[in-house]
Amino acid sequence: MKKIQFEAKALNDQTLAYAAQELRVNKDFIELNIIEEKKSLLGLNKSYVVEAVVDFNVINDGIEYLKKILENMDIEAVIEGKLTGENHILFSIQAKENPILIGKNGKTLEAMQSLVKNYINLYTDEYYVVLIDIGGYKEQRKKQLEILATKTAMDVVKTKVSTKLGKMNAYERRVIHTKLSDWRDVTTVSEGEEPNRYVVISPSKK
């Protein structure tokens, strides 16, 4: 959790603004607590030791953020969130209009994922990996990619000719690399520039 301690003359909007500036987050997410009251010798000047805490729960606030997006898009959906390992969060969305949310080649899904990831990591001082799945799309896509990888690799072994796959994002390329990592007959390399990077499967040199 992000927090700081400082001394202030009073608790007001300026104190909050200062805390927001220091913590670099929206002030609506900050909670101020008085830790200690200090008085000068004559008791004329009072000051406080204040603790400013970023009031944020990665799962709940992540779900709230997604919920708002979907409400504003006028899409009914059920959203679940869970930790799937140390600092790994998975949000699963089940909506009536899954295809709109996924977008062409998962573009909208990726956009939502990077926004939520960015949002969560702004408000925490640990680093979180955020994944979003919509209606099992990622799982299905992974299976398709693995089949594609295996089929293409078999062709490459047979013909001894390198083959380029279509453009893919980082996650998709990783699926291909991982799938073929234990094949001794082929090697895989990513080439090209984002967002047009692609995987090349070549026969291994003997």
Partner: protein, 83 residues
Amino acid sequence: MAVNFEKLVLDLVTPLVIHPEDLLVKKFSEDENSITIQVLVNQEDLGRVIGKGGKIANAIRTIAYAAASKQGKKIKIDIDSFE
């Protein structure tokens, strides 16, 4: 129900800024086929809202685009800061 694009963009951007009091999201124009939304943020927040290589700005555009496609419209989002 029609989608309120101003609110969609506002809700997307609000948690990203340090100065929500300087955040302004305004519909610039709308006709049958397209909508233009202007987003103004504090100078200090501009980098965060645009993101590295425009990553965040493009993500916001992609989501707004998906919402607009339900109504068969195109949406354009301009992001700028106060001088």
